[in-house]
């Protein structure tokens, strides 16, 4: 193909495409701005995801630490509570029951067995709490 400009090409080039309608640029401009704004908002939302995740992990770790912390770390943090209604009925000097006692209770009746288990459970809990300097006061302590 010759590099010399074709007269037809020259004539065609002299024609210019018809101008665009007046609102064309404005419509594009408005929509580009909206597009840009929503893009920024979207990227902002994506930034919130790691922030929320970090916050969630932080809360979880704090809660986990709190749950696993033993009372020895902050003995003064929990004061000795006074629960007279319960404390009054709680024995503090019950020795662990023997296996034979459990067998006897279970053969006697279901109620007898449950009563024995309740007593044992409350006593042990109370003992552990007392050892750690917190928990339920005895009836005698409440009277002081």
């Amino acid at each position: 193909m010759s590099n010399e400009p074709d007269p037809l090409e020259i004539e065609l080039r002299s024609l210019r495409p018809a101008p665009l309608s007046p609102g064309f640029r404005r419509r594009i401009s408005d929509r580009l701005r909206r597009q840009e704004n929503s893009r920024v908002a979207r990227s902002g939302r994506w930034l919130l995801v790691p922030a929320a995740a970090a916050l969630g992990i932080g809360i979880f770790l704090a809660g986990y630490k709190e749950l696993t912390r033993t009372p020895h770390h902050h003995p003064g943090a929990i004061s000795k509570m006074s629960l007279p209604m319960l404390a009054g009925s709680v024995p503090t000097d019950v020795q662990p029951f023997t296996l034979a006692a459990y067998v006897d209770a279970s053969t006697a009746s279901a109620d007898a067995l449950y009563a024995m288990l309740d007593k044992q459970s409350i006593t042990q809990t109370n003992t552990v709490m007392r050892e750690n300097g917190l928990g339920i006061a005895t009836h005698e302590e409440n009277l002081k």
Partner: protein, 165 residues
């Protein structure tokens, strides 16, 4: 804003040519502008990904025009007659001194196939290179060049040169 002037420059340079390109497939000018608008809005955020953004834009616009044609085939048929009369009244080119000559050129352009017209528009008014045109059409460069050559030959056969004044 820098980006505003950037897209404004792109529109100044290409928008009218792109509407002309779409007009080769879609008769109504308003529809052609809508297609260019949609294509430009899709093109703009992804322009940096393209090796050749100009070819990418033209390809985008052409693809949008084809999609529009597919989606509006029934409507396009129904409105064909109305659009033809509209096209006869309006012009795809700016008014020039010799409007009769312009009208003849427009009418002769319509005798070419849509593919040939697209190549002519991209080459003459879009000033795209053959490799760019080939990229837009998804054809080899030689095919793009020969399509253009045949189109010009067809036009030349039908257009008696304008007498020099």
């Amino acid at each position: 804003m820098a980006e505003d002037s950037e897209w404004d420059a792109w529109l100044t340079r290409h928008a009218a040519n792109l509407v002309l390109l779409v007009h080769q497939r879609i008769d109504r000018r308003g529809d052609a502008e809508d297609v260019v608008q949609e294509a430009f809005l899709r093109f703009w955020p992804s322009r940096h990904k393209a090796i050749d953004p100009v070819a990418y834009l033209y390809g985008h616009v052409r693809q949008c025009a084809q999609d529009w044609q597919r989606q509006n085939r029934r409507r396009a048929r129904r409105e064909e007659m109305a659009a033809q009369s509209e096209r006869a009244e309006s012009s795809v080119f700016e008014a020039i001194e010799n409007n009769e000559r312009k009208r003849i050129i427009e009418a002769t352009m319509q005798t070419l196939s849509a593919e040939q017209r697209e190549v002519v528009v991209m080459k003459i008014w879009g000033e795209l290179t053959f490799p760019q045109i080939a990229a837009v059409l998804g054809v080899p460069t030689d095919t793009a060049a020969s399509r253009y050559r045949y189109a010009l030959q067809n036009l030349a056969k039908q257009l008696v040169p304008e007498p020099k004044r």
